[in-house]
Each structure stands twice: as structure tokens, then as C-alpha cells.
Amino acid sequence: MSKTRYERPVIKKLETGMPNKFGTKTEYEPLTHIDGVAVNDLIGKYGSPLFVISEKTIRSTIKKAKKAFETRYPKVQFAWSYKTNYLNAVCSIFHQEGSWAEVVSGFEYDKAINLGVDGRKIIFNGPDKSEQDLTKAITNDSLIHIDHLDELYSITELAEKLNKRPRVAIRVNMDTGVYPMWDRFGFNYENGQAWDAINKIMHSEKMELVGLHCHIGTFMLSPFAYGIAAAKLADLALALEQKFKHEIKYIDLGGGFASKNTLKGSFLPGNDTNPTFDDFAEVISTALINSNFKKDKLPLLILETGRALVDEAGFLLGSVISNKRSSTGRRNTILDVGVNILFTSFWYDHKITPAQSFTHYSEDTCLYGPLCMNIDVIRESTTLPLLNKGEHVVIHNVGAYNMTQWMQFITLRPNVVLIDMDEKPHLIRSKESLENMNSMEKVPNHLERFDK
């Protein structure tokens, strides 16, 4: 006779008082399969923890974003933000979907070139571009977005030296009514720095000013700030045209669109409240179309959004190491997923669901990672069903930044699997090994021996 499924005994005090008027769910459906592949099978084959990326979700999300903009504005180009997730397979999906590459370092630039991206379709952003990086970008006719005057002077010198006319844009920072205002990158709009840079570029004639760029913030919860940014860049472009009889080819509004994650301290879940692609597209397109650009002279609109395009495609599978009680009787559950691989747990309350069926009994739980560090907390408080040791959980919306900002700290970084359009899993990044780590180290001869 088969035995009854075990669930640990639990007693929960019934709290009286005002109910939550929003009626937040205290239980979720289990997520047993991702794109048709069983979580148990994935962990069985590739181990735990495990990052899983859904190709289907990436493709449907970029299609949704493109549709939102292309149905409202005639010329739109997406550029994939490498720093958000620069796994080669992920970048390749975006390039197949027509995205250019947006890179912010020599390393990312080389990654894009190695993948086969046409140099003319690489946007090179960021404050740190070495002479070597700039030489490569100029030679490949990439779009260089100038961040500061030192870079502007370096490009001027290199243009002379290489006898080339680099295609450049300037990054403009501005007040769009959001706090904090990002003014550390680029040239300020309000105080005249942007005009100073434009004047220098236009008078030198060493470079071709092809665009204006801004990136007003990250995880933006108000689309209206983008309307202000688009209007200010449009004004700048039109004034530039009037002064120098020079038309810029594009306006690049950067990224920063919020994904569906829930920021810590938010009252309502991000899935219900964060703006959609349509919300952002409506505000941006309206601002550009309402500007004084002639109908047939609208510039290309470039978007470098990363987080909102890939967050939902990423899942992190983990397993329960142990259940404990705190000194106050609170349930503590230790997972094999630490903050070193889930960097975003510092600012999001990630949705976490069990990967197997469960009853409706639940406990308020604090989820810890496996690191012997007090900061290793995945969720300070969440209501979860009764998880047993060895059972699996799925952490949602982890596709952005975790696979680039992760750290090899205490534990090794895990495998990453991509589930393709035919629901077939592929290993796209192997887990680290001790050999990998040791191969980068050298022990001086005098330290090789010690008493054993």
C-alpha cells in the first residue's frame, strides 16, 4: 500500500485584527515545469542551484516591446544592453530578433565582435573607453557615445591619427523630474555642458555627430519622465539643426524600463503596478511626434532597454537545505541559492514558488542562502507552503543582471540552461570548478611547502 505524502506538522496562531484590504495571496500554484520541461528533471540533470532561461519568453517579450513602439513611431531600433545579460546565447537571441549591441566596456565590445555583430551596429556607451577600445570602435565605424570631455579630446586625436571621421553621439543628462537625477554620466542639458560638447564636436569637424543619447535612470516606475527626456533631446536636436544646419540621425533614450519584479518596500506587486511597454511607448512616441521635427525628418528612435526584456525569461531553481527556527520561533528555511548568485535579492522581493504540489497550509518564512554570512538573505519574510528538505523552489524574474553581477564567493557559480523554442534544454554556461578558479592563481615557490 502506498503511503500518504508527508507534510511536516504545523500549528499557526490565528491573528485577529484588520485584514489586508488587498487580499494578497498567501499561496501560489506550484511551478513544476518551465516551457514544458520538468523542474525535477532539470535539477536531476544539471544540478541545483540552476539558472534556466526561456528562449520563448525572450522572443515573445522583445516582439511585444517592438510592437508597442513600432505601432506608434515610424523608425525604431532596439540595441541589446550587454551588461544586463551577456551570455552569448542570450545576446544571439536578441541579435536574431534584430537588436543591435549596446556595450559599456572593451570586454563587452569584444564579446559583441566575437559574436559576429557588425561593428556599425554596436553602440559604445560608458565612461571607461581606453585608447585601444576607441581605436577599435573607430576602425569598425561603431557608434561612440561620448561621456566626458577627456574622451571627446581622445577621440579627436585618434580621428586625426587614424585619418577617420568617427560617428559619435553625446550622452546628455537632464532633470526629468525624477529623483535621484542621474548626472554622473554625460553632459548636462540645463547648465549648458551639452551645448559646450556639441559646439566642440561641430567646430572641430573631426567627428560626425550622428545622435543624441540619454539614460535617465533605472527601474523607472513613471513613464512620464521619458516624455520629458524625449522632448528635451528633440529640442536640442532641432536647435543644433538650426545653428549648424546639421541633422542628427537618431535619438537614443537608453534603457531603465522597470520589469515585473517587486521592489522591496512596495505596497503592491510589481506585476500589477509597473508600467508596460505600451505605457512607455505612448509617452515617448507622443513627445517625439509632437516636437517640431518635420514629418519626414523624424530621427530614428533607439532603445537600449535590458531589464524589462529579459527579467521574466530567467528562473533560478534551488533546493531546501534545512528548516530551522529562529530564537523567536519564526520559521527559517535555508536554500542552496545565495545572494552571490542572486544579487537582485538585495532590492527585489522575488516571487518564489515551490516546484512540487503542496497543501494550503503555509508558514511565514525567512529564506536564507547557504553562505556563512549574515547578509545572505533571499527573502526577509514570505508566506510559503511547508517545504521539506530536498524539495525544490523556483525563483522568478531573475534574467536581468544576476548572470552578469554574480560573484564567485564561497560557492561556485552554477550551470545555466536555455530552453529552446522546441522545449529542449541546452547547457549554455557550465558551472565553475575548483580547477577553473585555481587556473588563474599562482603560488610563489617559497609558499609551496608547509607542515602537513
Binding site: S2, Y6, P9, I11, K13, L14, N323, G329, Y361
Partner: protein
């Protein structure tokens, strides 16, 4: 170890402690264990009964059982040793 005499437990898993007016909810296995405690079963007997019925191992259940007992004590639902011996 005994459950306090005046503590009421329904079949559906609702527990009421008239001493302080607090109510609690239990899952079915929790109710089962409370009933076994009421029947004066020893921890060893309770572990045996549960292992025969549920798909778990001794180490897992033993840990969960004593954790559960600890929470019952925390909520003052068990008679203290002094009360039991009096």
C-alpha cells in the same frame, strides 16, 4: 507530556485555548499528532505510527516532531512537568 486539559481541537484542525482566548490552525498531520498525545502515546510510539502511514524517514520526522512540540510549548499548550507530576 500532555496537552492542556481544556484545550479544544476540532477535526478540521482548529485549536482553541480558553485560558487566553487564542485560536490556532493545524494541518491534518498536526491534528493527528495532537490526538496521539491525548491518547498518552510516547514520542517513540507517535514516531512509529507516523512512519507507518507517511512517506518520510525517521530523521526527517523526528526533527519535525520535536520542532512541533517546541512550538506547542512556545504557545503554552502543553502542561508543564510540574503540572503533569502534581
Amino acid at each position: 507530556m500532555k496537552l492542556r486539559k481544556n484545550v479544544a481541537v476540532s477535526e478540521a484542525g482548529l485549536l482553541f485555548n480558553p485560558v487566553n482566548g487564542e485560536s490556532y490552525s493545524l494541518n491534518p498531520i498536526g491534528v493527528e499528532i495532537l490526538n496521539l498525545i491525548r491518547e498518552d502515546k510516547s514520542p517513540e510510539q507517535i514516531i512509529k505510527v507516523i512512519l507507518e502511514k507517511y512517506s518520510t524517514d525517521k530523521a526527517t520526522f523526528e526533527k519535525d516532531y520535536f520542532d512541533f512540540i517546541g512550538i506547542l510549548e512556545h504557545h503554552n499548550l502543553l502542561e508543564s512537568h510540574e503540572e503533569t507530576n502534581a
